[in-house]
């Protein structure tokens, strides 16, 4: 297969304004944050974020105005730092449309995309205002006649995931929890993999079972050491509580937030850039 390694700048340059972007990881863990920072640097606009449970990544893309809608089940810094301030402000100002989901309905939409069907029936949702608020329709089971909620296919234009190891053709190894990264990679039209390390793929031949995403489903591979920072990356580093505390604190005031983005993100070293 062909070498798919590229720079973070070039990989993110392929993400169009208005794209539906699926972001791997979960809350404070293994989000592709170096790629998210590059999205902010390139000043993308009109993005729709797809994620089950987001935190810093979704908050930053909302707070900087890169994202104008989000199909998400949860956005928050858990009990560590509480609510997502940039996300809150953007939604409360009407600058970000929340396409409210249960995490499982995000998964159902991705499954429909993966399986090439227009919708996925889903258990649950009874008594919730979410289906009505979202316009989720029901279908009648043609066998027993029961009504079931149908989640429309959710096809990301691009999925961006950060993994521990990848080879140059895109075979991607995830150590520990895979979250929804594999579903996102299968459902999306294009897949960008950022990796702590790019390794010789021959080393994967002994236990191919450990490769989460096969290279032929991947379009671009970027070496991005600490590419999940300030999220954790299992086996590599914990989330950066100090940085995140500064971020959340800065969000309380708009000027402080702008200053934080300028000094801590835009001017900081481009992770994964060609040196």
């Amino acid at each position: 297969m062909i070498d798919k390694t590229t720079s973070m700048r070039e990989a993110i340059a392929t993400v169009a304004d208005g794209a539906r972007v699926a972001i791997g990881g979960n809350t404070l863990h293994r989000g592709p944050c170096a790629a998210v920072h590059e999205i902010v640097r390139q000043g993308k606009r009109g993005l729709e974020i797809v994620k089950t449970a987001g935190a810093y990544d979704v908050d930053l893309l909302a707070g900087t105005g890169c994202a104008t809608s989000a199909s998400v089940g949860f956005v928050g810094f858990e009990t560590v730092f509480g609510m997502a301030p940039g996300y809150r402000r953007a939604v409360e100002r009407g600058e970000l449309e929340v396409k409210e989901h249960a995490c499982y309905s995000v998964i159902a939409g991705l499954r429909a995309a993966i399986q090439g069907v227009p919708f996925m029936p889903i258990a649950g949702m009874q008594g919730s205002d979410v289906p009505e608020a979202r316009g989720f329709k029901t279908v009648i089971d043609p066998y027993a006649g029961q009504a079931v909620v149908a989640i429309p296919a959710l096809v990301p234009d691009v999925a961006i995931i950060h993994v521990q190891e990848a080879d140059s053709v895109g075979n991607a190894r995830i150590v520990g929890t895979r979250f929804e990264d594999v579903l996102m990679a299968q459902a999306a039209r294009r897949v960008i993999v950022t990796a702590e390390r790019i390794v010789d793929g021959a080393s994967f031949e002994e236990t191919p079972e450990l490769v989460a995403v096969p290279g032929f489903m991947v379009d671009a591979v970027v070496e991005a050491p600490r590419g999940a920072w300030p999220c954790s990356c299992a086996g590599y580093y914990d989330y950066d509580a100090e940085y995140l505390a500064d971020y959340v604190a800065a969000c309380k005031d708009e000027a402080a937030f702008q200053r934080f983005v300028e000094t801590r993100i835009l001017e900081s070293q481009l992770v994964g850039a060609p040196s």
Partner: protein, 253 residues
Amino acid sequence: MIDLRIGQQTSIATAEATDPRVIMVVSLARLLRDGETVFHGVASPLPMVAILLAKRLHAPNLVYLNITGSIDPRPEHLPVSTVDPSLLRGTRALVTLTDLFDLSARGRLDTAFLSGVQIDGQGRINMSVIGDFARPKVRLPGGAGSAVLMPTARRTILWRAKHDPRTFVERLDFVTAAGNVDRVVTPLCIFQRRDGRLAVESIHHGIMPDSLRAATGFAIEADERTPVTPTPTAEELSLLAEVDPTGVSGSEF
């Protein structure tokens, strides 16, 4: 459970048996049964500690499931983030969050722990918005898996580290999820759902019935005849101190 304040790490390991944090985590642990499958999601320090405590107390064969996909992990240090890789330690298998939702969807998840920023008298929750959905006064984090888990898990145990009329409300601004709620554990009492309504099962030590009523936005019955939540035993306290020496479960308060 979501808290606007940064979770403080005050240790409850040394706290007294009447400390509401201790009563909450012990009460949650007592509700769990040996051999059942139990799941907690993001932002769930109290359930995490309660599950680990229950496994030490009376439920060694309880199957502990969480978003990391680990099964019965043995974390070395308890994380404040309940999706933390430290919850992978000691697991022999890894499933995905999708697998866990599927498990519940097909009726094989016994107990799900969930919370709500607002909880009404039917045990329904709001994790979505305060105010109008389209243009909210406060955008909340969202219900995560609750809209699916509450109707499909065999039972849901709700917990909330805050008990005031803005939390326990007569009317939710938005119904994020509804379903098979069994109990609701708060710093003041334990609610049990009977005939679709939350009723006070027991009131915690030192809480006055009228202050409980005043703190609850929907009508409840509570008087001097209302049972008092059994005080945590010495064994429960010492095992809690072993399970949560750094007081992670206190981070919700």
